[in-house]
């Protein structure tokens, strides 16, 4: 049998391809949006996964440093180390800062403060692409490549100047800000030290000396044979802290911190998929209308409906398939240009492909309806 869809597409190949490319670009945007969502979820867990703690101990009745302000005394880490079941413990600080590059452009970052000689090393060796992690207790900094700072560069922060000793790749906070790493002491100075005029003002008001031995959280790992839930319960009996397991902290990040943003992007993505389906439907409708005279002739001379319908459905599905391939190509071509991380997964692509195939099939029903309604009598009488 003559393959009507193939012959029709071959006859108007360039028009068909341009249409498929247009739809493909739309699908590419959908893929990017899904990638932004995935990137957001992944970004939220980078720090969590790099730190690899069993327990997160935070200020009582708070959700911890990623969701709320949390302050603990630094010596909490020593107290925890003496607790049965705790293997390692370390104090950490997290603080949003604004740095300036050589062109005096502001760069917003999240500074992670940790003890370079402590039990936890948040700088993942896999992510370190240049230099080394922190060694000294002062004035060293590890930066993410997205900040644009180079190895050895001097950066002004607070009252001091820091040297970049290491560069990481792919380390960002849950809000997408690049991470920098500084020592715990430096971080405490930046976060908790007041300026000299403020200190003088406090003294004049009779307010005592400043307290800088504070941290935002203490993380801990457990000895073999101890479960996080049991040890967390033990810590909470002191009534001074709230303790989260690693999975609870992950849940806080995904539910409390990025939930609204991810829902917004998810909704936007769903609308885009819907719009794509409608556009494919309109294109098929127009493509069918353009052929309605030929379809009337085919029906008049006796060509069975199934052959004409097969042609419409095949063309629609092929349009969807080519658009999908082009959309993937387009998305992979441009995704690295986006300022926030975009994670393109084949699983998402395949899921979108299924959705687009279904949308294309539904869209072809519009064309099929036109075929069924086409009146063969219109071919007679001019």
């Amino acid at each position: 049998m003559i393959h009507l869809a193939y012959q029709d597409i071959r006859h108007t190949l360039s028009k068909f391809l341009v249409t498929a490319m247009g739809v493909g670009m739309l699908l590419g945007i959908v893929l990017i949006m899904i990638g932004v969502y995935r990137g957001m979820v992944d970004d939220a867990r980078i720090l969590l996964n790099d730190i690899q703690a069993d327990l997160w101990i935070v200020q009582q009745d708070t959700l911890g440093p990623f969701a709320e302000s949390s302050r603990l005394h630094q010596d909490t880490q020593d107290t925890l180390k003496s607790l049965d079941g705790i293997d390692k413990a370390a104090a950490l600080t997290f603080q949003n800062l604004q740095l300036y590059n050589r062109q005096q452009q502001a760069i917003r970052v999240l500074a992670v403060g940790y003890d370079p000689a402590g039990d936890f090393q948040p700088v993942s060796p896999e992510r370190l692409i240049q230099g080394r992690a922190l060694r000294a207790q002062h004035y060293e900094m590890v930066v993410t490549d997205k900040t644009g700072f180079q190895l050895g560069e001097q950066i002004a922060l607070g009252r001091d100047t820091y040297s970049v000793v290491g560069v990481t790749r792919g380390t960002v906070s849950s809000s997408g800000d690049p991470l920098i790493y500084i020592s715990l002491k430096d971080a405490q100075n930046v976060q908790f030290s007041y300026s000299n005029p403020r200190i003088r003002s406090d003294r004049a008001r009779g307010i005592g000396g400043q307290q800088t031995q504070l941290v935002n959280t203490v993380v801990a790992t457990l000895r073999p044979g101890y479960t996080p839930v049991a040890v967390a319960s033990e810590i909470e009996t002191w009534k001074h802290f709230t303790t989260y397991t690693q999975s609870e902290q992950a849940t806080i990040l995904s539910r409390n911190v990025i939930e609204r943003s991810s829902k917004q992007i998810g909704l936007f993505t769903a609308i885009l998929v819907l719009v794509s389906g409608i556009i494919i439907g309109l294109i098929i409708y127009t493509m069918t209308l353009e052929k309605i005279k030929e379809i009337s002739i085919m029906k008049l001379i006796g060509i069975p409906n199934r052959l004409v319908i097969k042609m419409i459905v095949q063309e629609t599905l092929l349009l969807g398939a080519i658009a999908f391939v082009f959309g993937n190509f387009f998305a992979h071509l441009i995704y690295s240009q986006f300022p926030k991380r975009v994670v393109l997964l084949w699983n998402d692509s395949l899921a979108l492909f299924s959705v687009i195939l279904a949308a294309s099939f539904l869209a072809s029903l519009v064309g099929v309806y036109k075929v069924m309604k086409a009146d063969p009598a219109t071919a007679i009488g001019g």
Binding site: M1, I2, L4, Q7, D8, R10, H11, T12, K293, E294, I297, M298, K299, L300, I301, G302, I303, P304, L307, P376, A377, A379, I380, G381, G382
Partner: protein
């Protein structure tokens, strides 16, 4: 004994009901035998297209009888369930414009209908090539309709109409889009086809200069069909 052709008895078609009823065809009866070329003539609006659509099994008559060859296909209702199959197997159509499928080449346009009829490919191929050779298009088998002249396209349309060996060909003003020279050539060809292929052809035309090629004239007068002999010379029939 030769079978084929078309016979119509007391065919009626009424549009609307009651006071608004319009009786377009009122008891049309005629016969066109295999090998005959008949011209269907009438002023505009007299019911040519309506009659053509009814005998082409596209439009339901109100009453009457239609026979295609020895088979009665209509007696106050269609006697065959699937009129589209009837059209595909027994009737060939030629239109004012060629109405070829623009995305199929000449050969595929002619092969399409018999292949849809599930006829074996080698036979379809041979028949299509034979018809296109017969119509002088053997050099144009793989050309697209857009690459052919109006006359060539109309000949492809004729080949398509003949491809399923129909009992009757209905030609709706096949020369309307052609100049007079090509129009004469096409009607001569239709006459030749009718004789050589033993098929009945009914051709709607407004051009009285072409009537002398026909074997009979079917003239619609007040909803009925008068069967007249062809003119020996050009004279006004319409």
């Amino acid at each position: 004994m030769e079978t084929g052709g078309i016979r119509v008895n007391n065919l009626h078609k009424t549009f609307g009901q009651g006071e608004n009823a319009v009786h377009v065809i009122q008891g049309a009866s005629f016969e066109v035998k295999p090998g005959e070329l008949a011209a269907l003539i009438a002023p505009s609006g007299a019911g040519k297209s309506t009659l053509l659509m009814m005998i082409g099994c596209v439009l339901d008559p109100s009453s009457g009888e239609i026979w295609l060859g020895d088979t009665q296909v209509y007696q106050n209702r269609w006697l065959e369930k699937d009129t589209r199959t009837l059209r595909r197997e027994k009737i060939g159509f030629i239109f004012q414009a060629h109405y070829l499928i623009p995305f199929l080449n000449v050969l595929d346009n002619v092969r399409l209908l018999p292949l849809a009829n599930q006829e074996p490919l080698p036979q379809v191929e041979a028949r299509a090539r034979e018809l296109l050779g017969y119509l002088g298009l053997e050099e144009k088998l793989h050309a697209m309709p857009s690459d052919l002249s109006g006359g060539q396209n109309q000949r492809v349309a004729i080949a398509r109409a003949l491809a399923t060996r129909p009992q009757i060909i209905l030609a709706d003003e096949p020369t309307a889009a052609l100049d007079i020279e090509r129009a004469h050539s096409v009607v001569q060809l239709l006459r030749q086809i009718a004789k050589e292929q033993r098929v009945a052809i009914i051709m709607v035309t407004h051009d009285e200069r072409l009537l002398s090629y026909c074997d009979k004239i079917l003239k619609i007068v007040a909803g009925k069909v008068d069967t007249l002999p062809p003119p020996e010379t050009t004279e006004t029939f319409i």
